[in-house]
């Protein structure tokens, strides 16, 4: 038995177990760090950068007696292992500004018309934007032209809202063992594809009960014949902000 290890998250001491990443330890300790591509059941992906934190900033005194802050390195907390004694900044203005910008970029890059999206009210991108106080898109709207795939009997794909988090890709490969989804292309042509000869979801063996059909954090992978079931005002992020209950995102402890 070694001594319990701890690090500091916004000055608060957080215990962690060897091998845990910063976000895992934080969420286990009930401290929320924003994230989109992280999911407690899957290998970290490190692509959305919403979970960015600053590690080990230093304050130094210059020769003329002024104190200057030297910012520590910025890192994705979902892929960075926790280390004893390190100082992590998360809820600080500079990091919050960065996250706000990332959310704005995601919102203008896809076609996010929340009023007509069935995920609205329980969408993690939207929930995060609310929590960060995103009032404006800041950037010009991209108006990308993307298809909808309605070929599957039970599942609808609206690629307009894909944030390329690969949660469906990982769920299909790691849990369902089906490899239904993949990402293809680079840069702004990068997009989600379905693994069938026609490229259509209807020609894959995806089932509505698959993990991959139920893991999308935004409104891409939708179940047909279900929509707008919870009234406005009673949906998940109407009732409580996304940051309210970090335990729901905490990693599942291995049973020994």
């Amino acid at each position: 038995m070694s001594d319990p290890k701890t690090f500091f998250l916004d000055e608060e001491e957080i215990p962690f177990e060897e091998g845990q990443t910063i976000i895992q330890a934080a969420l286990s300790a009930g401290k929320y760090i924003p994230h989109l591509c992280y999911h407690p059941e899957f290998k970290p992906h490190g692509s959305c950068k919403l979970c960015t934190v600053r590690i080990d900033s230093r304050t130094v005194t210059t020769e003329d007696g002024q104190t200057v802050k030297i910012p520590g390195r910025a890192a994705a907390s979902c892929t960075t292992p926790a280390q004893a004694g390190q100082h992590v900044e998360s809820e600080v203005p500079e990091i919050l500004d960065l996250r706000r910008t990332l959310v704005q970029m995601l919102l203008v890059e896809g076609n996010h018309y929340c009023p007509s999206c069935e995920k609205s009210g329980k969408c993690m991108l939207q929930g995060l934007a609310y929590d960060l106080g995103v009032m404006d898109p800041h950037f010009p709207q991209y108006f990308s032209k993307r298809e909808v795939d309605a070929s599957h009997p039970d599942i609808l794909l609206d690629f307009n809202r894909c944030i390329l988090c690969e949660l469906c890709v990982r769920a299909s490969a790691e849990v369902d063992k089906k490899n239904v989804f993949a990402l293809s292309g680079r840069g702004n042509t990068k997009h989600l594809i379905c693994n069938s000869e026609s490229g259509k979801l209807g020609d894959t063996n995806l089932a509505a009960t698959d993990k991959a059909a139920n893991v999308c954090p935004v409104g891409v992978i939708l179940h047909k014949r279900h929509g707008f079931e919870v009234p406005y005002g009673q949906r998940r992020f109407d009732r409580a902000p996304i940051s309210d209950n970090p335990a729901q995102y905490a990693p599942v402890k291995e049973q020994v």
Partner: protein, 183 residues
């Protein structure tokens, strides 16, 4: 001691561009608080007054809806010229909203589908009185500088009230949980 400055009411202009007037209807949801509001502001161009052009000394311009035709561009420029502060109110003003869902389609195909379908004749309206449609619907901040954004489809009466009272009190408007909504 200096005498207090005489209180001048702020001049507010409002308009709906490519919107459904839902944001204006929601504005009325501030209910009896509108009596407090008219103590502080007077309405210039707006659907309430039916003034056609805003006065050159408006303090606040509140705009609902995005930009979908040449007239919208014109009105938006007029607002920018005549109002010190412009507020984009609602989803359409902020990102084009539902009207912008036509942006992935070809404008000729849309007009043909609407007006030149079998059984509907072949005439696509082209009277010079009808404002020219733009190829795409645009949010306001792509056309002129916007000072503040008030999201929602529509923003609730409470959100509009909080936003305006913050602004009139000289604070940066913030909408906390429950008031900030994109739908």
């Amino acid at each position: 001691m200096n005498a207090p400055l005489p209180k001048r009411k702020l001049k507010v202009a409002t308009t709906s561009l490519a919107g459904c007037f839902g944001c204006h209807m929601s504005f009325l949801d501030i209910d009896e608080r509108i009596l407090d509001l008219v103590e502080l502001v007077e309405f210039d161009r707006s659907p309430i007054t039916d003034i056609k052009h805003c006065s050159p000394d408006c303090d606040l311009g509140i705009i609902e809806g995005g930009v979908c035709n040449a007239e919208n561009v014109h009105v938006l420029h007029e607002f920018r010229k005549n109002c010190k502060i412009l507020i984009a109110m609602g989803a359409c003003a902020i990102n084009g909203g539902l009207p912008a869902q036509r942006n992935s389609l070809d404008i000729r195909d849309i007009l043909a589908a609407v007006y030149a379908r079998p059984g509907r004749g072949v005439h696509i309206p082209n009277d010079p009185e009808i404002p020219l449609l733009l190829n795409e619907v645009h949010p306001l901040h792509e056309v002129v500088r916007i000072d503040y954004f008030l999201p929602g489809c529509p923003p609730s009466g409470d959100a509009i009230w909080k936003f305006l009272t913050d602004l009139l009190a000289g604070r940066t408007p913030t909408l906390g949980h429950g008031l900030i909504h994109y739908d």
